[in-house]
Each structure stands twice: as C-alpha cells, then as structure tokens.
C-alpha cells in the first residue's frame, strides 16, 4: 500500500507520535491506572471500615439479657418451662422441653440422601466430643468441662508483654496455632453478657459478682470455620456434622486459649454459647457484621463458622475496632436467607427495626428471646428451633444460602471485592447471579451425594 493511499495523519507532536496516537495512549494509560486504582480501593474496602462504636445503632438503656430468656436455655430446662407455662401457651402450646427430651435425634432413618443411618451417625459422632469437652455449653450451661471457672492453675508469675501490640499479636498467634480461623480482641461489655447467668444442671441463678471467679476486662473472640461441603447439604442430617465439629473446635480453642492466659499468670475462662452473646462480641472485636439471619457475616467465610470466646482480666492489650464490610447494605437487598428458611423465621423486612415485627411481636410471652433496643433484623428463633425438632436434626439453610458463604477460590474473592464498592441496587443483581450460577441451594439431595464423595483425596495422592 502506497503512502498516498493512507489517511493523512495529524501533525507530529513528539518525535514519531501524532496527537491522535498520544490521545489514545493517554486514554489507555488512564484506563489502566483507573483499573489499578479501583482494584487497590476495592482491596482496601474488603479489609473493612473501622468504627469507634458498634456499627449498628443501640439504645442507651440496653441492658444485659437474662440467660433464662435465651431460647436454648429455656428450651432445655424443665424448671423454666414449669415456671413459664404462658410462654408455651403463647407459642401454640408447643413445649420445647418435651420435644427435645422425648426422642429428638432418635427418629427413624429415611431412604433418601442426607437422612440415612450414615448421615445420622456422622452427626452424632461430630457432637460426641462436645459432650466430653464441655457438656451442655450449647444450651448455655456455664462452668462446664474445659470451659471450667476453676482458676487454681493461674501462674503466680505474671508474664509482662513489652507492648500492647505485642500482646495482641501473641494472642492472635496463639489462636492461629490452636486452630482458630479468626481472632479479635475487645473490651468486656455488660450489654452482651447474660446477666444473671443460669446453671441448667442445678437449676440455679448465678451472678457475675458472687459466682464468677473474677471481674473480666477483656473478651478474646475466635471463629472456627465450618466445612463448606457439609453445610451445603442443609437441612439434611449430614449438616449436623460441621456444626457439631466446630462446637467441639470452639470448646477446644476457648479452653486452650483460657489455659494459655492462665499459664501467663492471668485469670481466664473459656466460653462457647454460655456466659454471653457471641455475635455482638464478634462484631465488637471487628470480625464481621451481623447479617439478616442474625449470624456474624465474616469476610470470605460469611456465616459459615462458629464463635467462641475467652473472658479474662488481662487488659494490657490493643483492642480491635468494629468494622463494617458492606454487609448491612447487601442484606437489605438480598434476603436469600429469609427466602430459604423453611420455618419462615427470618425477617423479610426491608429495613432494620428496633424490635421484632413478626407475628406475635406484641405478646411479651412470645418475644422473650428477642432483644429489642438494637437496630437490626429481629427473627423468630422459636420457629427456627421448632423446625429443627420437626426435621429431627438441625438446619443450616440460612448459612448455606447466604451469598457470603463461599469456599476459598479466587473468583469468590473477586466478587467480595466487587460487592464492597458497588451501590445497593447492584446487590440485588448479584443475588440473582448467585442463584443463576447455582450457589446456595438448599434441600438439594445431590449435595449429600457430593459430600459422601468429598473424602476421595484423603489418602494424599
């Protein structure tokens, strides 16, 4: 092609470069820089935005919760049922204690994936170690097993850390070595403690002042990640395994972390479902945000974890700040947990409320497990537990369906990064994409079949 046939280029500006080429290269450079900047910003946002206070509004007069109002404590106590027949009456006469103590987890096996003797056996096996390590903690039983209040082994010599930073790092390093997935440190906050406490074995009210062995100043919160494949089988009996397994890990981590602190010369007590509310403590420790389903939504693992904690009088430590990760905005649009809940126990409200809005919300004997005074989604935990009993197992549907519940693969981290920078309406689109791509299915028998093949690489080659 001859030079004459070429379109005439604008006059050169720099040696060998036309204005047009310069413009195109500038745009390309700006686009590349913009993409890199956007990536860096998104990466920064996935680390969370720190807050001086809890990232949800809380009424000033919010006090601690009476443990006798905690549903698992009430549900497993014959005495509390006898003391509060009006609560049973308000829930259409459904007696949790009778149901749980009369054949729960002993129903007939079914001829369908996820409900066979194989699945039941695995669930019972996973929970077995819990009954040895800290019996009854899942119902709120304090001072149990490895979570004992005994302080007789506190070392006389206190280990002195060089700085608060070093202390926090040492605690986090210990948590990692003890197999916790995450660890945050926060101040003890009476609003999140059960007070009074309740001893289910002795049907006795306990107080922090008279019964607990010391005045806690710090709470170390740890998460342990549940198995993705197991949770994906929900609500099949198979999904009892990851829940039980991580309760065991919670007992282990909390008990061992408490021992670590006592060996350093400080008083400490491990805790799982007992002593205080796990989700607000985990939020305060910067480990995540409270989602619509009431669970802690933690970066990269979402609600697929269990929470344990340690109360200690050690306070020479850097405290973590609560952080927000865009969960509140996402949960407002998503509602997958609420849609997948077979008991319809999860709020479908568009916005968070100060108290329950569900059916029966105006009846005091119905809403005893609810915590009014916090601007969040208030769910009906009684309906949830009722389904557990009817299912003769558990249910993890709200965890399984949550779009934040994803295994550790690069494309999910990319979606996480996108999620924190896009505006609210896009979250509704992302929810739809999550469904179209086949994630978060529940009542999916195929998942149980996949689970029982998940050990194929366990020989290591």
């Amino acid at each position: 092609m001859s030079d004459e046939s070429k379109p005439m280029d604008p006059a050169p500006t720099v040696e060998g470069t036309t204005r047009r080429q310069l413009l195109v290269r500038s745009i390309a450079g700006a686009a590349a820089a913009g993409a890199a900047g956007f990536g860096a910003y998104a990466h920064h946002k996935t680390k969370g935005t720190p807050h001086d206070e809890m990232p949800v509004e809380i009424k000033d007069d919010l006090g601690p919760m009476d443990q006798r109002d905690m549903l698992w404590t009430f549900a497993t106590s014959q005495k509390l049922h006898a003391d509060h027949p009006e609560r049973v009456q308000a829930f259409n006469g459904f007696n949790f204690y009778e149901k749980l103590s009369g054949g729960y987890l002993q129903g007939p096996y079914k001829n369908e994936p996820g409900y066979t003797q194989l699945d039941r056996a695995l669930g019972l096996a996973a929970w077995e170690a819990n009954h040895v390590l800290a019996p009854g903690q899942q119902y709120g039983q304090p001072n149990s097993g490895i979570l004992s209040w005994d302080q007789s082994d506190v070392q006389a010599t206190k280990y002195e850390f060089e700085s608060k930073e070093q202390a926090a790092l040492a605690i986090r390093s210990a948590a990692r070595a003890l197999k916790a997935t995450r660890c945050g440190i926060t101040k003890r906050d009476r609003r999140w403690d059960f007070d009074p406490l309740y001893d289910l074995e002795e049907d006795r009210v306990l107080t922090w002042k008279d019964d607990f062995p010391f005045e806690p100043k710090t709470v170390i919160v740890m998460l342990t990640e549940m198995d993705y494949q197991g949770i994906a089988t929900s609500p099949a009996w198979t999904s009892m395994c990851p829940a039980g397994e991580e309760y065991v890990m919670g007992n282990k981590c909390a008990g061992q972390m408490a021992k670590f602190l006592r060996a350093l010369g400080y008083q400490a007590v491990g805790s799982n479902n007992d002593l205080g509310m796990n989700v607000p403590y985990a939020v305060a420790a910067g480990l995540g945000e409270c989602g619509r389903n009431g669970s802690l939504i933690a970066p990269t693992i979402g609600p697929r974890h269990r929470i344990c904690k340690v109360y200690t009088d050690f306070d020479f430590v850097n405290y973590d700040l609560p952080r927000s990760f865009g969960v509140a905005s996402f949960c407002r649009e998503c509602k997958r947990c609420a849609d997948s809940c077979p008991a319809e126990a999860i709020s479908q409200e568009k916005h968070t409320t100060w108290g329950p809005e569900h059916e029966g919300a105006d009846i005091e004997d119905y809403t005893y497990p609810n915590r009014a005074g916090i601007l969040k989604y208030h769910n009906d935990s009684k309906k949830c537990l009722k389904f557990w009993i009817e299912n003769d197992g558990g249910c993890q549907n709200c965890i399984t369906a949550c779009p934040y519940n994803k295994p550790e693969f690069w494309h999910h981290r990319l979606v996480d990064a996108t999620n924190v920078v896009v505006p609210g309406p896009v979250h509704a689109f992302m929810r739809e994409m999550d469904i179209i791509f086949g994630y978060g299915t529940t009542f999916d028998q195929e998942r149980a079949r996949v689970f029982w093949k998940s050990g194929k690489d366990m020989r290591g080659g």
Binding site: M1, K6, V24, I27, A28, Q229, P407, F409, W410, H411, I436, F437, G438, Y439, V450
Partner: protein, 93 residues
C-alpha cells in the same frame, strides 16, 4: 488449580506473540485493539472461572461461566475480527 493458572499464563504469553504478529500485519485502530484485548480477557476469565467452579464442585457455575464469559469473549473476538481487523489496513511487507 495450579495447572489452571499455568495454562492461563501460557495462553496469555502466546496471545502476546499473536498480538505482536497482528500488529505487524495490520494497522489496527483503538476499536480493534480494544475488541481483541477484551475478547481475550473474557476467554481467559472464562477458563479461570469455569475451572475453579469445577474444582469447588458447582458444575452449574462452570456452565454459566462458559456461557456468559466464554460466549461473550468469542462473540467479541469474532465481531472484532470480521468488522474491524479484516477491514483494517494491511501493513506493507
């Protein structure tokens, strides 16, 4: 997964050679380059997405990845080739 990233790197490297060769043969405008780069990015994204989805045991996500990212990548490449590259000026020699 390691093999997948190796393959993605290999394809990326080969495509650089292909682009250099294209640059020698055709005088492409910004639309041509944008279409080719976008198409290649979508194909690579499709491979990485779908492989990861197979590894995590969600075949539907792999299929959707092939359809949405791979399909979009192929359409972009074909359209760019037919409408831009083939009509662009050929370099002498």
């Amino acid at each position: 997964m390691g093999l997948m990233w190796f393959l993605v790197g290999l394809i990326t490297g080969l495509s650089v050679f292909a682009f250099v060769e294209l640059h020698k043969r055709f005088e492409l405008n910004w639309l041509g380059w944008s279409g080719l780069l976008l198409g290649e990015f979508l194909i690579l994204f499709c491979i990485a997405w779908s492989t990861a989805s197979v590894f995590e045991g969600v075949p539907r996500a792999a299929s959707m990845g092939l359809l949405m990212f791979g399909g979009a990548g192929l359409v972009t490449l074909v359209l760019t080739w037919r409408l831009v590259v083939q009509k662009s000026t050929r370099n002498a020699g």
